[in-house]
Amino acid sequence: MDFTVSILLATFIISVLALFVFIASMAKGLFGSGGAAATQIFDADELGRVEDPAATQAQRGDLQRAMDENKPALAPAARDAEQIATRLRADQSSSLVVGVCLTLAVAWLVLASLAGLISSIKLHAPDWWVGFEWLTFGRIRPIHLNLVGYGWCSMAGIGVALWLIPRLLKTELVGARWALLGGALWTLGVATGTVAIATGHSDGLEWLEYPWQADIPMVIGGALVGFPMWLTLLQRKVEHLYVSVWYIAAGLLWFPILFLIANWPGLHFGVQQATMNWWFGHNVLGLWFTPLGLAASYYFIPKVIGKPIHSYNLSLLGFWSLAFFYSQVGGHHLIGGPVPSWLITISIVQSMMMVVPVFAVAINQHLTVLGNFRALLYSPTLRFIVLGAMLYTAASVQGSLEALRSVNAVTHFTHYTVAHAHLGLYGFFSMVMFGAIYFIMPRVMKWEWPFPWLISLHFWLVLVGFAIYFIGLSIGGWFQGLAMLDKDTPFMQSVALTLPYLQARSIGGGLMTLGHLVFAAHFFMMGWKFGPKRLGAALLAPPLPAVPLALARTPARSAA
């Protein structure tokens, strides 16, 4: 016990000291600057000019006016044909691989949603569809998780990252074919692994169900999708690396290593395997999905409103503290389990320290949008991404609290944890990806979203659906935990009381799935260039030079 207490103190003191050293060194004449790196994502003609290819002409006008009213000081430079051509070349260099990745992502999303909905219904209708082995709860649930994690989220994150890289480095994407090959291998791995789970060949570890035969193409594929980034970095035309680049580069570096160590056959055993399992299980969230999601939100929030992020230094603090603290929190999944107590103690301390990176990101992004919340009304991209960023804060703070022993005693082993997991991977990550895809696809396809009302429909369906899902399951899970802690309550009581909440979850999940079907239908309509032709100022489309751009922009600006 004394050993545990000293570990607790030591970890805490080292963490706090490291933090203070960092803050102090930044504060030494460094605070409040960093403008050069923060404005790196803007060309001269972009700063102060709103941008959202998913918005209609009218929405863009309103968006610009909303921003101008608030801060008219930022007068954007005149459109420059050369800069537009550079951006256009950057987009063209990535469009094929990004289009492929995002299309796969959307296809996986639909399958993953259906698998999730089936799992959810099965929990309150246990005799429904029991004849097929592959549809039994214990198989369709991990199929859902893996399709969401490795299918939808990873593919979307990779697609968005590959689109961002040439934009962030102001050059063309080099070696896109490596990423295409990587994406193909990755997809092969996901498909193989999913079939393996369905046919009863799971490895049996959460987040690591895919057998090694499916892991090999994913490790190689995961490394290959990073190639174009490293090659493009060698050719970069920017002096400073923007925040998003750090997150993308680190994420692409971390994932293959994590996945390789975690899946190495015959290496892990017994309780050690359990600690490894949650070292991986939490790092795949913290060092893979979170960096990709934050990279996107750090780019799109300032980009849409045409205003740089609030503080470059804060983002630097956020990045390193995220990497340091997040990578050590995995043990909190094993509180009360047969693992060394020092390990759990370290993880609990670092889970609490996670408030540092979370608030660094939250304050930074909040202050960027602050005073411009009306922009959410007009920009579909921003609506999704700002919601996602806010839910990132919520999910992270909730996660820190759940790591406390007193809270964990209630929530561990309950549906509350499932709701929390969805707040992170859906509320935060998926919402940000939706927004990013709405922004990116018009650039990739050179075609606007055919029916803007479908974007709104998607937004409201998933928002309402997710609210029902999350609130219902959190309440149900909490009560379930309390019932399990009460020695006088029979265990079956903890099952029976969750039923209405499990049903609510299916309703919420049904609305979310419906929203995804709307999204996918819209996505493929766009892919087939369906719908009214609305090529206009949203696009940096040929024919060059950007005469239509300048023409379309001018009236709105002079009106403002």
Binding site: S33, F137, P142, S202, W246, N313, G336, T417
Partner: protein
Amino acid sequence: MSFGVGRFEMDELRLVVGAMVILSGATALLVVMPYLLLKDQPPTPGLKPYTELQAQGRQVYIANGCVYCHSQQPRDIALGPDALRGWGRAPVAGDYAYDTPHLLGTMRTGPDLFNIGARQPSRDWHLGHLYQPRAYTPGSIMPSYPFLFETRPGAARPGETVLSLPPAWAKPGQVVVARPEALALVDYLIGLDHAYPALQPLPVATSAAAPAKKAGV
């Protein structure tokens, strides 16, 4: 505006080195240290290795994802009343010496199964419960597993295990026989019995010396 370029500015080298150092640190802490500490951990005395049939049953448990609803790690009495529910004492690492992959689990949609064999040793109960959980536990939300059984008209063949279901759930004129997977799974479940003590009793001399030593400090 430059603000300490060269000191805090992020470049590729710093990014890669920093990212790798941090990941290595976390891996050392959460993967390598437990590996070194636990690799020579002997099985707790009293723990029996799995028989071949039990090992097969464990694979059936894994293949059908039982772990997504059932934990195998009773919590200490300080954290919850698991022991009072008859789920057993808090386990130690040596209890899992033969458990690869580990099946600790993170959900208790159903009860903990670490000592299900001690709690419910009836093979007939387990077979019937897998076939139709609600026949034995009203209100259960566990899926039924008809694909682990064969239902057909007529009589069973010699050597087959016939389910004796409660009358309300029996199918007149038909027999329900267990497939080998069901038999293996039930054998594994009945074998889940960690009711032996976690610690060996201390030798007399040491246990007498311990309080004295503590008092001395």
